[in-house]
């Protein structure tokens, strides 16, 4: 049954572990990627290849911020990328995972 309300968590905390929502598919594109959530039927555009790299590595990095750093995001760019991740969290595209 399709929920119309995003199933994501409320606030994005970059010091927590995150992952792509299991119902989300990513399709790499030259501008970045398309992300589609099969549950909410929402489509998002990741507007840079770096953001795609961040999102793809979320599940294997200890925290959201680590995923940014690992993808080569410079310190002064961190706030921008964290805002982008917050937007994705808000629409349920990414979600918190339990720390491993």
């Amino acid at each position: 049954m399709p929920p119309t309300v995003p199933t994501g968590t409320t606030d994005f905390d970059p010091s927590l572990p995150w992952a792509l929502h299991p119902q989300v598919s990513l399709r790499p594109e030259s501008f970045g990627a398309l992300a589609y959530h099969f549950g909410t039927r929402r489509l998002s555009f990741l507007k840079s290849p770096t953001l795609l790299a961040v999102v793809s590595s979320l599940a294997t990095q200890p925290t959201g911020r680590d995923a940014c750093t690992a993808a080569g995001v410079a310190a002064d760019e961190l706030p921008t990328y964290e805002r982008a991740l917050a937007t994705l969290a808000e629409s349920g595209m990414i979600c918190e995972r339990s720390a491993s």
Partner: protein
């Protein structure tokens, strides 16, 4: 949809990137059959009778395999009335099992309580129920006697089964634009989401466009209503020509034909968009070597559509960046040049050009699977008659019985 920005912007704006095309469509319309139990006067695909050459179950499954390989997230299935196909549920199940989500359009005639229950339990299937009037009088004049009750009964069953957020899909016409709030109330009543799309002069819509398309004043009303309702109302990006009023509506605001969308018809022909079923916009067939993938990536037509546009006669207009010249299909089927204004240009640039078209006969939609002949029957008669005769003495097209179904 959501745009998630990040620092270093891509060299191109996203809209320009899309203009150049993607490796696979974002959204694909797939009409499964030309068969329909209704005969809507404005049917985009001139549906009615099944085509003997329609894709077989095995061919449909091969096509779904291709969609999966190309990572096409979901397909909008339409027709005709797609649920008429005896393998409809088999194909839906096959698609969802292969990670291709399905949103299908229906007139509701086959949504039994059992079907509604089945749909409600699926995560990967969405449903659009077509209704073109918030009252039986307005709806049935276009979609046929009894079709309002059929659609409402289907919505009742969906709601009773607990399917939240299915779509109530409405083509905006001169006759129903005053019912926007009533449509919203209907959607709310059944916990559905309202989806409004633009009437195109495509398919049988070419015969009734003059009588059905909204007036300039109504377009303004619609624009303001859409702005006020924001992302709560879906539009399939179909009203981007209204951006010429000033503010962009939610969505991509560009013509995605052959760039980010396309249509696969029941016999496997691939057209640039669901509103352009005509040889002029035919890119190839999925049965040809290389299949759909090759048609999408390398057909001459699609490569041509992906070239940067100059704007033609619209280039000097200050609103060109907002409306991008409007809808290709609307221009084509009203006889206007593709590089000029939309017939419903909100700045009024379309009207003098439409007047200049005069009695010249615009291209006829092709193919036609209507169950009974429409308009001037024989090609010879077409050539002799002005396309839009004064219909005072004719049977009014809205009096015609029946309705069909719009896929998008």
């Amino acid at each position: 949809m959501t745009l998630v920005a990040a620092e270093r912007p891509t060299p191109l704006r996203l809209v320009d990137q899309f203009q150049l095309g993607l490796d696979a469509p974002i959204c694909l319309t797939w009409e499964l059959t030309y068969a329909c139990n209704l005969a809507c006067v404005h049917c985009l695909s001139s549906s009615g009778r099944r085509d003997p050459n329609e894709l077989s179950t095995a061919e449909c499954k091969r096509l779904i395999d291709e969609f999966e390989r190309m990572q096409i997230f979901y397909v909008n299935i339409g027709g005709g009335e797609p649920t008429i196909r005896s393998d409809f549920w088999e194909l839906v199940d096959y698609a969802t099992a292969h990670h291709v989500g399905v949103k299908f359009s229906t007139n509701g005639s086959r949504i039994t309580p059992e079907v509604a229950q089945r749909l409600a339990s699926s995560d990967y299937v969405d449903v659009q129920i077509s209704l073109d009037g918030a009252t039986p009088e307005v709806n049935d004049a276009v979609r046929g006697a009894g079709s309002f009750d059929t659609a409402v009964r289907a919505m009742e069953r969906m709601a009773a089964a607990g399917f939240v957020g299915f779509k109530l899909s409405v083509v905006i016409t001169r006759q129903n634009v005053s019912q926007l709030d009533a449509f919203q109330a209907l959607a709310d009543r059944y916990r559905a989401q309202l989806r409004l799309t633009r009437l195109r002069p495509s398919g049988r819509g070419a015969d009734v466009w003059d009588e059905l398309h909204p007036t300039a004043e109504q377009q303004r009303t619609l624009y303001e209503w859409l702005l006020a309702h924001g992302e709560q109302v879906l539009t399939g990006d179909s009203f981007f020509h209204l951006a010429g009023y000033g503010e962009s509506l939610p969505g991509l605001n560009l013509c995605g034909a052959g760039r980010v969308v396309c249509l696969v018809d029941p016999v496997g022909d691939v057209y640039a968009c669901p509103f352009a079923i005509h040889d002029e916009f035919l890119a190839g067939n999925v049965r040809s070597p290389g299949g759909f993938d090759r048609v999408w990536k390398s057909s001459a037509l699609f490569c041509d559509l992906r070239r940067p546009e100059t704007g033609g006669a619209c280039a000097s207009c200050g609103s060109y960046d907002a409306c991008r010249g409007g809808c290709m299909a609307a221009k084509f089927f009203t006889g206007l040049p593709l590089d000029g204004p939309d017939p419903e240009c909100v700045l009024g640039h379309g009207e003098p050009r439409l007047a200049a078209v005069g009695d010249t006969i615009p291209p006829r939609p092709s193919p036609d699977h209507s169950r009974r002949p429409r308009g001037p029957a024989a090609p010879v008669a077409v050539a002799l008659l002005p396309r839009r005769p004064n219909r005072a003495g004719d049977e009014h097209p809205l009096a015609a019985a029946g309705a069909a179904h719009h896929p998008h």
